[in-house]
């Protein structure tokens, strides 16, 4: 029970105090783009988590292979793209098999969840840290969940941030960046 609680607390800290957006800024542009609609937070957040976890799994084995061939870490980005590409294709096939309607609605946007800084940063960070497979998968899941939480935090005030009362020059991207900066500052203070 104690171990479970410890894991729960560690997971909560990873998603909040080590939040991918508010502590590293990875995927901020994607976050701002996806927060415009409610349904996108859950669906694309879910896909980001899926892409991060599954591509971490493939990248883990690919990394071992590349190192054993003496190709080193310099070529790892190519390995990461191959891992992401494979999961991206499989995901699209899965959605197509499940629902043609969902497939035609999502096919033009789903690559935003696959090929972005947040997902790619998971693969890089895992390599740099030389983590075990389980740690890599957990980190990938925390990153995805953290992204969803950040999207939700932005979404809560989205209507207010997009209102006409915001000065014209600050409307749109500047006010979102300012808001994310302030939340990021709060998290920085809480961590101290």
């Amino acid at each position: 029970m104690t171990q479970f609680l410890e894991l729960l607390m560690a997971s909560l800290a990873a998603v909040t105090l080590e939040n991918v957006i508010f502590t590293t800024a990875f995927g901020t542009s994607t976050l701002i783009e996806l927060t415009k609609k409610n349904w996108q937070i859950l669906s694309f957040g879910g896909f980001i988590t899926e892409f991060a976890v599954l591509s971490s799994l493939i990248a883990y084995f690919l990394e071992g292979l590349l190192i054993s061939w003496g190709l080193g870490l310099r070529l790892m980005p190519i390995g990461y793209i191959i891992s992401l590409g494979a999961i991206y294709i499989l995901t699209l096939i899965g959605i197509r098999a499940a629902s043609k309607k969902a497939f035609s609605a999502m096919k033009r946007y789903i690559h935003l969840s696959a090929f972005n800084c947040a997902v790619l940063s998971v693969l890089f960070t895992n390599s740099v840290n030389g983590s075990s497979l389980l740690d890599r998968l957990l980190f990938a899941a925390y990153t995805g969940l953290g992204f969803m939480l950040a999207a939700y935090i932005l979404r809560i005030n989205y209507d207010r941030l997009s209102s006409d009362r915001v000065p014209a020059a600050f409307r749109g991207f500047p006010i979102y960046a300012l808001y994310i900066g302030l939340v990021s500052m709060i998290i920085y203070i809480l961590k101290r």
């Binding site: 800024a25 793209i81 590409g85 935003l112 800084c117 960070t125 600050f170 990021s184």
Partner: protein, 205 residues
Amino acid sequence: MTQYESRIGTASKEAIFTSNALLSSGSIIAPAVVVATSFMQAAALCIIFSTVTYITVVVCSYVPRKLLYTIRIIIYTLVASLVYVPAAMLVELFMPSYFAALGIYAPLLITNSMITVRTEAKFYRLKRGYMLQLAAFYVIGYDIGLLALGTLREMMADGGLFGLKMLPISVPTVSSLFGGFIVLAILSAGFRWISARLLRREEAA
């Protein structure tokens, strides 16, 4: 003014002012707010970004449109990851300490939105000649934004530039992540305000 000059003028105005990738659209934010903390750091990032993005956009403009969209996107990022290798080696050779400070933010540029989004949504819908000019201006526009952000943050955090003291006070937290977001927001708002005024004045003239 010739038709060619007018076309160049329109492309540069769009890419550098009205749709500036960093200051107007807020694209590719992470490297800007985290590692563009000084002029030189921003310059190192600019070299990698410009090389990777422009070469990828040019090379991938030859990818047949008949290929599935899914496959095209994978090819674009694969090409970017290949271009990244010599670009990174070049910066590492001439600016080793600045390259080291970029950390994983440099290789992450292979999935930047100019490659994964703007190619399909904008660049590859245009004629190649004009597209190559427009893409170059978009890259330059982002570089200008990044250098301005890096310079401003260095001035505010260190109270000067290149080690020379110019201001009586300094605000070191400007170099932090939240400082980056806040300075970028203010810089972006200022840039949009000035751009809007200039465009209004031009329309009135």
